[in-house]
Every structure is written in C-alpha cells, then in structure tokens.
Symmetry: C2
Subunit: 459 residues, 2 copies
C-alpha cells in the first residue's frame, strides 16, 4: 500500500465512500486507448465541484498526483497515472444540467457521454457538432481536455469553438469560473480556451457552458469510390478550393476499406483503393443542390461510383463502418501506433505519397483514414510489439511521419493531444521560448505539479 | 525630455529613423476613441518582427513601457500610454502577405486595415466575417488585441474563431510562433487564443494566420420597423429561439434612429421606436426562403414595416447608416460613455426595460443599439462632461448598467475589452482566484510589466 492510510481515509470521507484502493478496481482505471497501463494508488469518484475541491486541496497538501479521467478513450495517454497517484474518475458527475433553447446553450457536467449529449440536444431541435469517433462512450470532460474534433470540424470547428465558459477546480482546491454564458465576452484573459485542450494539466473541469446550433433541416451522406488514393486526395483538396463546404469529408485508404469492407451496405469492387465519405447539411433544397455539385465534381476527378445513402438509416450504417475502423485495425496486426497528424489541405496528396514511401521503406502496414476535409489524417502504424525488429521500424516510421508532417507545414496532433506518446516530438513543433511560456503557465495553475503530471512536457 | 537621449538614439537606429519625439507627433498618438489622452515619450514605427524584437529587448533592459497601437479606434483605452513610454505604432507593418485559396487561409501583418483585408479576400471569392463598425480604419492587429466582433458574430463568431496561429514578440524580445497553419491543432497549450483578446498586454503580434470562408453566394438585408422597443427586443429573442440564424440582427432604439434618420434611404414614420437590421446569407434559394420566413416572423411580432434592400447598394446604405451611428451620437451631447454589455438573448427585453429605468432615474439620454442577435448591446450614456452633476449621474448610470448586466447573467464587455475604462468593474465579473491566475499569466509573459502596463488589471 503506497498511499498513506490516513490519506485514503480522508479521500473516502470526502467522497462519502466513493473511493477505492482495490487492485481489481485500480486495474480498470490503469489503461486507456493507447494500450499502455499504469496502476494508480487510488481511484476517487467525486460527485460535485466541492468534492473535487476537497480532494485537490488534500492532494496539494500531501503533494500527491491527481489524474482526472473521463472514460479512458484517449489516444495519447492523457488519463494515465504515469507516476501513480489518485485517479479522479468523473463518471458520477454526468448530469446535463440545462439545455436552454432560448439562448442556444447547455450546461453540462464533465462525465456526460458525448453521444448522449448529442442525442439530448437533437431531441430539442438543437445540434452539438463536435463528434469524436468514440462518441458512444467518450465524455465531454475528456473532449474538453483534448479539444476533440471529429469529422464535422470541416464546417463546424472543434470543441474549443463550442465552449463559452467553465467551472473548474485548480490544484489548490479553489473553484474558478471562466468565460461567459453569452455569445460574446472578452473580460480579461481567455482562461476558458486555455483550459480547453490543456489535457487536464491546469484544472479539473466540473461544469461547462456549451454553445449549441439549430439542428440542420437536412443531411445528405454519400460514399465516393476512387480507383487510386491519389485521386481521392486530389478531390478533397479540389472540393475545398471550390468553396464547397461539406460538413464532413472522411477518407479511407485501401487497408481501411479491407478492415471494414463487410460493414458497408454495398459492394466495393476490387479495383477501389480509396473511399471518401462526404456529408452535406443545410436546408432541403441546398443539400440536394450541394450533393449534386459534389457528385459531379468527384466524377470529374475520377471517382468510379458515388453511392448516396438513401435515408438516415443507411447514412448511420456508413458512419458505423467509419467509426468501427479504429478498433477493427487489429485484424491487421496486434499493435498500432495511432497518429492524428494534420497538413494543409492542398498538401494531402503529397502527404499520402510520403506515407506510402514510409510504408515501402519499413515494410509495415500503415493504414490511413480520417478527417481529410480539414487535413487531419489518422495514420495507424500496425506492427507486432513482440517483434523487436518491427517495434524499431514502427518507432522510426513515426519519427519519419512527424518529420514529413512538419515539413509540409502541418502539426503533429489535430485532436488527440500530446499526452505521453507525443511528448518526445512536441519540441520539434513548438520552440523553446513557447515551451518556456507553457511551463510558466502550468506553474501559475499548478505550482507543485500535482495535476496530471508527466504529460505534454516535462515541468 | 523624459526619455534618455541615448535610448531615443537607439530607437532611431533600430527603426532606421522611424521614431519620433516631436510633440506634434506625440499628440497624434496620445488619444483613442475614448476621448482620453496621454502623451507618450516617443513613438516608433517598426517594419518587421526583428525591429519589434529589438525595441522590446531595449525597453525591457531600460524598464520602459511599450504600448502597441493599431489605428487608435479602441473604445476602452487599450492603446493609450497611460504611464508614458514608447507607443509602438504598427502602421508600417501593413502587408497582406498571402491569401491562400487552396487552404482557405491568409497571412497578414497587424497594421492591415480590416476593411482592406475584407475587400482583398472578397476579390478572391473568400470571406473574413469579423466586422467591427470601425472596419474602414481599424486594423487587424487591434482586432486581435481586443477580439473584435461586429454584427456578423451571430452566425460566424468573433476574431478568435478566425485566428489559427500567430507570430508575436514577447517583452523579452523573443519572437514566438503559436498555433498552426491548419484547420485543427492541439499541440500544447493554446497560446494563440490566450494572446487574442489580451489587449496587447502579453505580446506584440507581428503576423497572424487567419482562417477564411467561402464567400456566401447571396446576401439579403432588410430593415424592420417596430412601434415599440419591447417588440423589437422580443422579436430578436424569438428569431433565435426559432432556430433561424441570420448573419446579423442589429438593433437601433428611438434615439439612435433620430441620430441617423437622414442617412436611411427611406421614410421612417414618427411612431417607429425601434429598427432591426436583419441580414441573411447563403445560397440564392436559401436566402430568399429565410428572408420570407423572417419577414413573416417580424410581422407576427408586431413590426409595422419590413423594408428589404433592393440591391447591394441599398444594403450598403443601410450599413453605412448603422456604422455612422457611434460618431453621430454627439448630436445629442458632447460626451458619451460607450459600453458594450452582453446579456443572454432572452434577457434582452428585460435589459432594455432596465436601461429605460436608468434613463428615467438619471434623466440622461442613454442611446442603445448594437448586435442584438448575440445579446451584445452598445449602450451610450450621453452627457456634458463640463457639468459636474451630469458627470456624476453618468458615472452612476454606468455602475447601474453593469450591475444589471451581471445580474442578468451577462458580461461587461462583448468586444471592446477592459482597457482602462472597465478596470474598476472587472472584479465585479471576474473573481479573485481568476484575477490571480491572469496576473500570474501576465508575469510569465511580461515579468517586468513593461508591455501595455496599467491595462485590464493592476499587476
């Protein structure tokens, strides 16, 4: 037992029994979607900002790490207890406090599952666009921590664009309120958007005020089948250049198609090497018009088939196939390094070429899919961890991937964050002076480095 | 001469002669739109990030204040040399470096006039939505500093939503690069949006990468005339609730109408006490459809007339009248306190009532107009500064205005910033812990408090 008995007793008391040090339970909170695992010393399940506050105050005075955690679906290790300490699972703070149709805002607790929230606002004719592939189980708190995006970011932006204000607890235990409940607000520094995307290293969000949009009247989804990956990439670039703004332009390469081939409700000929899933929304008339334009555009660029989803059910099936991709990659190899690089849209064709080059050099399967409409490509380097040769090659493939990304004016992470898996690469993108500022900001919020330590950068 | 001779010589050398200490010139850089005036010790006109860097490095070592300045159109004193020092006028850094139609981004220097930039991107079929009323003369650098908004924020958001990355110089003289050139990016803390809206107190922006949108196919503008201010306010709230999303919903009260009555190209009957200017955009068919819906909506709510602008010229005239408002208020009284409060949209009717209450109590003219579609009301308390009684009343009216705003869940500033005029009120909205964090952040960037000191809060 590495946690002092008295400390655990206090945690137990603060949370009215919602704390545990049982090994079986610690195991459940030791991993995330990276497949890495670090055993925490305890897990607590606070149910209010004041409980979060009391826990952080205690942890500060005892100098013990606290790691906030949503549903553990993060891709870069943001919720892992890399130095042990107390995992703070936000699952009990899962209330949608208010959906305000007059002002198009909602107030939520961090433990609300993103998909549940999307459905709840849709039932009121409203729309929350951020839509990570893990929406069925990830939480809004996690989305805030990483500034999650998803396919609809092409038209609608990312989580940051939908957060108006926060209630959060800083490591000292103080409860702070940032931002506004209104559409505009510039009173003082923008602490709201500083906390969003800070990967749980600055404060624990206990409530968020989110901006909503009216639900679009109509949505039209289509799958577009291309003979070559290059044609698909060229099409994405050309669609954006032509000022068409679909809400999603998703991209699947040949290997991705193979992984989810049976999940598609239509036959995919053998000579198809890339698929785009394109979705437009708006008024009925606009959607019909835009879909027609895009269809012509794709065929001009060499698409062999444009398959529109006949109805919402077929569209949902298409998305189910797309969302199943990440998990189904394990058909190819038991381990993956999953990256979410972004390049300027017109560099996608070149990036795709370079990825193929890495694949050729290493002999590893690199599966690419993702949010091509905003240049955000999920590259999955598949390998066998047990095979030291492959592990080394995978590591070198990742180095090369990031180097090419930065060379093309891109960023090493569009929506997954840095966590622990990209710490090593962050200095390739972010300069020394900028890192020094980030470290300074971390110190302002968390002078003792107790909140989610060992993430993003070394303090 | 309060600046050391040697220091001035160095400034002169760094800027290759683009520095001055001539009184006539200092006067020109001593004021802004608040009407307040503070004489700087010198004005410098750098033309590159490296000149900005050298000036800041020198100012840091000499512990002298540097005040970055766009075109001095700020409403809260952000560019005033309240403690003397060196005004850094960015007017020579006014290049549009790049408009990239492939990736829908632009790179600009801070001294570019916003309206010039809007026109330049429109010529390429693109669209930059932030649109402060001062667009004909304000600069993008100033817009970044204050996180400017304007009428189109209802649908399109504010400056912050269009900034992808920055080149900026911190007070030590170090040149930093924040953010990305891509649609998404979450590598490290969001320094970009921390600097945006920081009112020139953290860093001097020397280049910005801005996001652009395709230019909407069609725009339709209409003026809607109401017999009562309350009906207009109720209509705004109802339009938003009905999930119609015009790109602008501007509001003018009776006193505003009087100020610009002749500027309108149509007759306004005497029984009209409020006007809404509503603008929709999108595809031709959508715009026609939305305009029709909104028209019906307004008439249902009691509008006496809906006057559509027949063409772009008439629409431009309507906007010219609206944009002339701020300056033409001086017909009423020689001095004004100009506030830009925001309340949740459904509290606008109540806020309008309360403003009328303040007007009744003080006997002062309070003119209200502004961006009602996002709850952002520009309240102008008109008075005679020379009259001590009126000055006192105006001050008390402002106190009351802010108290009501916060009481209704609003914010004291939607887009003008805090500067010096709202410093006193900021603690009413932002708590002690939050202020302590802001001060801590200021210290990280500017340990000696040389960059735009005396703004937002006392360091």
């Amino acid at each position: 037992m590495s946690l002092k008995d008295s400390l655990y007793k206090s945690l137990h008391k603060i949370t009215r029994g919602n704390a545990t040090m049982e090994l079986e339970e610690l195991c459940c909170y030791s991993y995330d979607a990276t497949g890495k695992s670090f055993l925490p010393d305890a897990v607590v399940f606070p149910c209010s900002a004041s409980e979060v506050s009391a826990i952080l105050e205690l942890a500060s005075s005892e100098q013990i790490a606290v790691i906030p955690r949503g549903s553990g679906s993060g891709m870069t290790g943001g919720s892992l207890a890399v130095q042990g300490g107390i995992v703070m699972a936000m699952s009990r703070m899962n209330r949608i406090i208010e959906i305000d149709c007059d002002n198009l805002i909602a107030r939520v607790e961090p433990g609300v599952v993103t998909g549940d929230f999307q459905k709840a606002v849709e039932q009121k004719g409203l729309f929350y666009p951020p839509d990570p592939a893990s929406s069925a189980f990830c939480t809004l708190g996690g989305n805030l921590g990483e500034c999650a995006g998803g396919p609809k970011a092409v038209k609608y932006g990312v989580t940051r664009d939908y957060v108006l204000g926060l209630e959060a607890v800083i490591p000292s235990g103080k409860i702070i309120h940032t931002g506004v409940r209104t559409a505009k607000g510039v009173a003082g520094y923008d602490l709201t958007r500083l906390i969003v995307g800070s990967e749980g290293t600055l404060a624990v969000v206990t409530q968020a005020t989110l901006r909503l949009l009216p639900l679009p009247e109509a949505v039209k989804t289509m799958a577009v089948l291309f003979p070559t990956i290059d044609q698909a990439a060229q099409t994405v670039s050309a669609i954006i250049k032509a000022s068409l703004v679909p809400r999603c332009v998703e991209f699947l390469d040949k290997a991705s198609i193979e992984c989810v081939r049976e999940s598609f409700g239509f036959h995919i000929p053998a000579d198809i090497n890339a698929i785009l899933i394109i979705e437009v929304d708006g008024s009925e008339s606009l959607v019909a018009q835009d879909a027609e334009k895009i269809k012509k555009f794709c065929i001009d660029k060499g698409a062999l088939q444009v398959i529109p989803a006949a109805d919402a059910k077929e569209a949902a099936e298409l998305w189910a196939a797309r969302k199943a991709l990440s998990a189904s990659l394990f058909k190819i190899a038991p381990n993956k390094i999953n990256e979410d690089i972004v390049v300027p849209i017109n560099r996608i064709p070149e990036m795709v070429n370079r990825i193929q080059g890495i694949q050729k050099r290493t002999g590893l399967n690199i599966v690419s899919f993702g949010h091509a409409g905003d240049g955000n490509i999920h590259c999955n380097i598949m390998y066998h961890k047990q095979n030291p040769q492959e592990s080394m090659l995978a590591e070198s493939a990742m180095d090369e991937l990031f180097a090419h990304t930065l060379d093309l004016g891109g960023t090493i992470t569009g929506e997954h964050g840095v966590g622990i898996t990209k710490m090593k690469y962050l200095p390739n993108e972010v300069g020394e002076s900028e890192m020094a500022i980030m470290r300074g900001i971390k110190k302002v919020f968390d002078p003792d480095n107790i909140l989610n330590p060992g993430k993003i950068f070394v303090c």
